[in-house]
Symmetry: D2
Subunit: 309 residues, 4 copies
């Protein structure tokens, strides 16, 4: 039996970063997005993650984004700030900004582009944690980082108090299970799944919360799903998840011969949010291309079928 | 709502192939293994899969294995026969042998070693199905085959009556969910998960059954897990799965610097079965190395902790 | 300085396996192909390699192919026989057939589909060599086998007399250089490159010979290239290689959305050979698709630009 | 016949970034390193590449590094500045700094961490080139970037005047050959190989110059190798390359169970340079570990065997 009291639980959407058609940060849209999330009852917000196009933003824009989110949240829920940089010293620069701007926790990946060993990845997290006094979540995202955090490394880092949890977008549910079992006696370890379409399953398997990109579009759905799971109403959780899994088809609206994974995914979420009136434009960052009119129509169809319009 | 009545359900362990210390097929051990499975209440048996070391066996030994299993099962449950060969004509040769030897269904992968397009993989399954009149399951095992069967291809093949289901060892639970949703109206499509440690989760997500290598060692556990899930006792299913997930550590008993994935996995299962007295030897096929005395002790510890000894 | 006297040198094309439109072995075409190769002055022939569609052929057809080649070659050059099977015992079965059918040397890959460690791969080659008394070349083809033979492993196997050389289709020219340097004092080690378009470069780097699939189509070109290199006429070697590199565009004639790597590559070679009148049909093995009329025209254009028609 | 007059030729080492034991930029060491390179007769210098640990450096340190190099070179050879960032806007920020600091050309990779399509990669290079008026080389480094620039994309970008060449560290010599052939009529396209141990081969194959990390340690060797190749003395080129290929073993001095690729590679170069007295310390950036005393001894042995000490 797990005896953990995880530090973070619930639905923690990774916010998209609304842009104007000209590519500038769209502050009013971001404020509306945050407000809509809070109203839906999310437990926290993850700023400057992959869904937030962090990797495409200059440091100046990143600072603006975090400032707006922290100000709008106004302490109602914790704000986790992605500090997504390829190496230790560069993560620390971002982590210090996050601290200064009022974030409640940091999220960092293993080094990327860099060619590092497991022991160097371990050192990376220790150095980041030692440099900035905020809770730290390790972000496991092999599709972007091209290394996978092993259960053994996560376990050691958690037991040593270096990380407070994992934001697990690995899609590797076997290692997720093994990690959660290894840490089931840990007092506060948090395992947040980045899944969008098997969240019911991973909550059953022991995850403490969920960080779904699709939660930008339908936070109410994920809150209902999470609540049903917590109350042991697994059939209800599955039904809600099946509906959300169909809605997730908005990430397949883009023509993939010209749109990469981010344009299709984040671009799909932004297009849905624009159709729903939450944000003004579905613009994305260079060099991504935004969804066109045909693709927008396909997104609209999915929104209708999911009962959102 | 799913309206499927899947063709196959329940626990369908992929049988290991017991060998004598000299490397010959150990028929009495195989008979005992089959008997133990039937006694535990499995719903079917998968012969000549990856756990069965098929890829290491000559055609003569493969025939023997299948003959023994079919004879021992004696029609009590369906026997699925792996026809694991790199290309169409070679799969058909094995499929004809399986038919002749009394198998109830065929299991085949996409071509491997071969460099083929998706449309050629699609043609492969159609040609196999056309050549031998037995139900056909597609075996999705990218770790060995090095291609992943896409939800779109599986959906088309199922809708066209080419395949009756998938034995899904991909570990890609997102595509599993998407495939099951796409086929929820199909009358008989079967989705069998090859997971061992997130079976509770994947049953919640909609899988019809499970083909767990670890089921060789603890079929009773998987039958209990499956039954709990079917009866909606999800907390019980999770508890059983957590126990089995710990037991799965027997695949980590081997020193991985000299044992590859098959030696560690199948070798771990065989070592456990030998310790439990079901089979005589933990011998494996060339060029694999069998687990040594130290590793055997580690397996024994896991068996004890799981309550099996 | 290298002091090796390699066991094999020169141009050793990996023969395609001509099929009739009905898919049967086309013996007269195969005889013509072999004769054309011998006339061009090749130093050896590689039967039943990847270009030979071995992986698609039943054992019966494989035997026929080797029988025809050995009979037609009639001892004029050595015949290397691919024994391409996923595991040790299965390779040995094919190696015994190769010995019985008169092959002069064996070519085998590391295990594939199988999940094995480096020490198990090492054991694999030792067991194969111990079972059949013929020279053995290791076939390094990670695009199909999905493991790479390391310079360290090759060096040990060569020094221990297990392998006589490597047929290197890895495309990893760094490890090729390192392997050749490590074995420069070996009396007979042979490093054959599987390159088609950087053969001049790899002969300069120290390779002893070349096994070019494109040599099916233009053996004279590769013989001229090899001869120029051996005589130190490197500018001539480069010019010939540049011409052959352009000719290699025949493997890009196929529409890759429906033709995989084998259909495009082997299919391109066969289409060229059919256009040149060496073989009758460009048919390929199931589930591959043969090149269509449009693609055939593109191949014809390349043949003309290379001066072959 | 190629009719190109490439914009850049010769030996263009990618400079390491010397650090003090405390991890600060070691300016005098960097000045000595640049001076040693110029004295050896290199044709250009590549600042802030992978060997320069760019990915580990803060923007402030990157600026310092480039300032020192440009000042020390003082116009004697062109200085190419790596602008290694994951996305377009971030590359442009670095490119503007490079222009301001006096670089002669820019080097940028495709986006990384980002999930982009080929057409988005193409747009990336066009946007970077449009933003800063300096010659631009595309840096093809799939081991870090995790995408490969295709010959088709490079050809189009070169023909459209977007890029002036490629710094090719892909190790894919087939695509290198195909790219060079496709652009053989281009007036100024430059193909620089990032190889260290098959440079003779790739110069024969048509490369215009070389960017060898090992050139930090032995620039004289690479200048001799390049000169021999340009003068058609291919046997001399090969002999020099063989010597340098042996010297390259310094990157294998580190214990790879704890040192990743950068620690072993850049760390090996730095250790050699420290032993040669060019730089003071073999310190590397966090989270990399520096080579220890045992490893340093192994590097020393290689230096002696190569005749450098």
């Amino acid at each position: 039996m797990t005896t953990r009291t995880p530090r973070y639980t619930g639905v923690v959407p990774p916010l998209v970063t609304p842009l104007t058609d000209d590519g500038a940060l769209d502050v009013p849209s971001l404020e509306r997005l945050v407000a809509a999330q809070l109203e839906a009852g999310v437990s926290g917000l993850f700023a400057l993650g992959s869904s937030g196009e962090t990797i495409y933003l200059t440091d100046e824009v990143r600072d603006q984004v975090l400032e707006v989110i922290v100000r709008t949240v106004a302490g109602q829920v914790p704000v986790m700030a992605g500090c997504i940089e390829p190496s230790t010293d560069r993560v620390v620069v971002r982590a210090r900004r996050a601290l200064a701007l009022g974030a409640d926790a940091l999220v960092a990946t293993a080094p990327f582009y860099a060619l590092v060993s497991d022991s160097e990845i371990d050192r990376h997290f220790r150095l980041v944690r030692g440099a900035v006094d905020l809770p730290l979540l390790a972000y496991d995202l092999p599709v972007c980082v091209h290394t996978k955090l092993s259960p053994a490394m996560v376990t050691t880092l958690a037991q040593d108090g270096v990380i407070d949890g994992v934001k697990d977008s690995s899609g590797n549910d076997v290692e997720a299970r093994q990690t959660m079992l290894a840490l089931e006696q840990h007092p506060t370890y948090t395992h947040l799944t980045g899944h969008e379409v098997v969240v019911d399953a991973m909550l059953l398997a022991g995850c403490d919360g969920v960080v779904p990109g699709l939660g930008n579009v339908d936070p109410d759905g994920y809150v209902r799903l999470y609540t049903a799971a917590r109350e042991g109403r697994w059939a209800d959780a599955k039904a809600e998840q099946d509906r959300l899994a169909r809605l997730f088809r908005i990430v397949a609206a883009a023509d993939r011969s010209t749109a990469g994974g981010n344009a299709a995914g984040v671009g799909g979420f932004k297009t849905a949010l624009a159709l729903l009136g939450v944000i003004r434009s579905n613009q994305v960052s260079p060099p991504l291309r935004r969804l066109d009119e045909d693709e927008r129509k396909r997104v609209a169809v999915e929104l209708e079928q999911a009962g959102l319009r």
